[in-house]
Structure formats: C-alpha cells, structure tokens
C-alpha cells in the first residue's frame, strides 16, 4: 500500500482577488526550493488563472489538447457533453500523465509540478444529479490519494465559491490556507469559508486553517483589519506572523509568464527574503 505521507493544502477564500493564485504560485515556488520538497500545484479553477500565470497560451493549449489537465482526474475522456458525466471503473490517470514539470533539483530529490486547470470544470456547476457528482468526487479523491504517495505537498488553488469542485478540494485537504487582504471583503470571505466548513458534516476532521495577510502596503498601512484579525479569539492564533507585502513582481503582467521570483530583475531578492520567512512559518505549522 503506498504511503500517504504527502500533505494537501487547499488555498481558498470566498472573496475573489485576495491572492489565492499569487500564493499558490509564488509562495510555493520558494517553498519547494527552500525546503527541498516534491510539490504539486493543482489548478482547480474553471478560470484556470494559475495556469495562465505560469504557462504561455500555446503551451497551455497543447496540454489541454493532450488531455493533460485536472479535468482528466475528474472524468475519463468522453463525448457525454455539458450536462452529464462519464464514469469508469478504471483508476484515474497517474499524475505523471497530467503534470507539467517546472523545476527540479539536479539529484531529482525535489521538484515543482503543475496540473493545469480547465474551463471544462464549469460543467459541474450545471449538473444537479448528486449521484453523478459523487462518482466524480470519488475519482478526484482517488487521484489526490495517489498524488499524496508521490509528493510531499499537494497545493490546490480553488475558485472563490462554494461550488462542487471547491467542496471536493475541502474533502481532500488536511490544511486550508486562507489569504486575506486588509479589507472587510476579504475578512468576510474568511468567515464564509468557516461557515461552509461548518455546513459540511461529511468533512471530518476539519482541515486546520492558516491565515496569510496578503498585499500589505509598504507605506501608509492602516492596521485596523490586521489588529481585528489578530485579536480575534478564534482566528488570531491562526494568522501567520509574517505577512506578504505588496510587490509589483506579484502583480499579473501581460509581458511576463512564470514565477515572480524567477523574473530576471535585481529587486526580486527582497521579495524572496520576505517569502522565505513565510515558508519557514508554514513549514512549522504544517510539519513539513
């Protein structure tokens, strides 16, 4: 029986634009290298922003045409269309068939892989038949189990909703990483994540929540949201001491595709140093 030592982290906030994709890509890029871990990023979003961030369009389209997206982990190839699901008794494909490798150490001891997302995931928000969806969830969870035996850390970038695929990710994970911007909407998004978990009795035990303050201004920073969050009885101890400050490198750019800390600019070192502190804290919390 393969060992399931790998940890699974779902990156989620019910508010869009708080930095889920930013954290999934750029923090985990540093994490893989700093801790020398085998890390798999999964883009479980029908808008596939993580894939757009890291892959040029032509490369993404090639992978999609080959069926190398997370959709293949949900269903086998078929022509059932938008309102039905294909099922099979066969196991899901191996991760090696779906993943795209970005980085690895020379001795092969650590690597950073991505399984791209796909707009095809949108079909699950159109299907109401719970029996059909249960088969999809089962296949996805089997796939994640497989991944846990091959990777030290599986990171699932989710879309900001309480959709079927988000619930799949919540079932799969042992940790929940919630990026929060210093504004009321992000904080409400955090509460909604907790509300959703409370409404799902089948998720037991509940994943451990870690909160990362993101996009913090370097000047003229109003700390009132941070103080409220850190002072909250339930959430306070879950907030990482280290924060991710605003950086132009972390912004989506039309003329750069890839990880922020790989960009060939001299000022990336400050960002790297800041992310390294976050990674150290995550390593302690997640026992990596």
């Amino acid at each position: 029986m393969p060992s399931l030592n790998g940890k699974v982290v779902t990156v989620l906030n019910m508010k869009g634009g708080v930095g889920k994709t930013t954290v999934s890509a750029h923090v985990m890029r540093v994490l893989y290298n700093q801790l020398r871990k085998k890390v798999l990023l999964i883009d479980l979003d029908s808008q596939f922003n993580l894939s757009q961030c890291l892959l040029p369009r032509n490369k993404y389209e090639d992978l999609k045409d080959q069926g190398s997206t997370i959709f293949s982990a949900m269903e086998p190839p078929s022509d059932v269309g938008l309102f039905d699901v294909a099922t099979t008794d066969k196991p899901p494909p191996p991760t090696s068939e779906l993943m795209k490798r970005f980085w690895q150490f020379q001795d092969g001891s650590a690597y950073l892989d991505l399984i791209p997302g796909s707009f095809e995931l949108v079909k699950y928000s159109l299907i109401g038949d719970q029996h059909k969806l249960a088969a999809v969830q089962k296949r996805f969870l089997q796939f994640i189990s497989q991944a846990r035996s091959e990777y030290d850390l599986v990171v699932i970038d989710c879309n900001p909703s309480s959709s079927f695929i988000t619930i799949c990710a919540l079932h799969a994970c042992t940790y929940l990483l919630v990026p929060v911007r210093p504004d009321r909407y992000s904080v409400l998004g955090l509460e909604l994540v907790v509300d959703l978990l409370d409404m799902l009795p089948t998720i037991h035990p509940k994943p451990e929540i870690t909160i990362l303050l993101n996009a913090i201004p370097r000047q003229n920073y109003d700390k009132s949201t941070e103080n409220e969050l850190r002072g909250h009885r339930r959430f306070g101890p879950k907030v990482l001491v280290n924060i991710l400050r605003h950086s132009k490198l972390l912004e989506a750019s039309s003329n750069y595709t890839g990880f922020a800390t790989d960009k060939p600019v001299s000022y990336k070192n400050l960002l790297k140093t800041e992310i390294r502190s976050i990674v150290d804290e995550l390593a302690t919390r997640w026992e990596l």
Partner: protein
C-alpha cells in the same frame, strides 16, 4: 567602451568560464554573426523562464539582505502594541500579557520571569522560546484591542460562542 559592453565583460569575468571557453564563444560570434548570437541568448532566456530546469537557489542571495532577526521584529511589534498603542507602563504591559497568556497556557505557570533590567522586549523574546510567536502576537493584539478606544468596523468579525 559602452556601459553595456562593460557589463557583459564583467559577467563573463565573474562566470568562472575558462579562457578557452570564452575564446570558443568569440569564435561562435565570428562564425554565425551577432544576430544569431543574440537570438540564441534570447531563446535560452525564454526557455529558462517557461520550461523546467535545474537551479537551486544561490545561498549568496540570503547574505545580500542578511538573515532577518524575526524574534526581535516580533518582539518590537508586541512592544509597540502594548506600550505605544495602549500607553501602558512596562509593568502594566507585563501584567496584562502574563494574565492573558496564563489563561492560554491552561494555567501552567509561565517559566519566564520578567526582569526589569532587561526590559519588555527581551522578556517577550525569551517568552518565544516557550510560546509560539503567533500566539504571543495574538494575545498582545487582543489586549491592545480591549484597551484602545477605536471606532468599531461596520462589519466586525463575528465572535461566535463555542469557537
């Protein structure tokens, strides 16, 4: 000599390439021309950016900024919360934080006594050897929020029972 040429010569000098390797590079430019040379460098750059490669981080990058003294930074934040923002005296700050942490640590005695000659910051740094920094920061912020009069947000975080 232009600044760009100087930079390229400096890069080559720092690269560790042998004299023979540099001469091979010069021959390649003479043979294929400057445009081919530039095109190949740009193609390699694109490949580095978007395809898998092997590149552990250079340790020198950590040295450039120096290791951050995190404990010291967190202790400074706690001191700011308890002294600057609440206007406590040092003794009051110690009392409030001890009381709050005492409840957190399930009433086990804190084995870190405050020493006035060391000051609040040093005491907090010593506390961090026994209690996680995020918990200390959480308690310091709770104390601060309790005592600082500020306008409550229109959408405050819910404080649910049994949480």
């Amino acid at each position: 000599m232009s600044r760009n040429v100087e930079r390229i010569l400096l890069l080559l000098a720092a690269s560790g390439l042998s004299q023979r390797a540099i001469q091979d590079g010069v021959k390649m430019v003479e043979q294929f021309g400057g445009k081919e040379f530039v095109d190949r460098v740009m193609a390699l750059r694109q490949r580095i950016q978007t395809s898998y490669s092997e590149m552990p981080y250079d340790e020198l990058e950590a040295i450039e900024f120096g290791p951050r003294n995190e404990r010291s930074e967190i202790a400074n934040r706690v001191v700011e919360l308890l002294l600057k923002e609440t206007s406590f005296s040092t003794e009051q700050a110690v009392l409030e934080l001890e009381k709050s942490l005492f409840e957190e640590t399930l009433q086990r005695e804190l084995h870190v006594r405050f020493r006035s000659k060391d000051g609040l910051r040093k005491w907090v740094e010593r506390l961090m050897e026994y209690i996680s920094p995020s918990v200390i920061l959480h308690h310091a912020t709770m104390i601060r929020n309790k005592f600082v009069h500020y306008q409550h947000a229109d959408w405050p975080l819910r404080d649910r029972e049994n949480e």
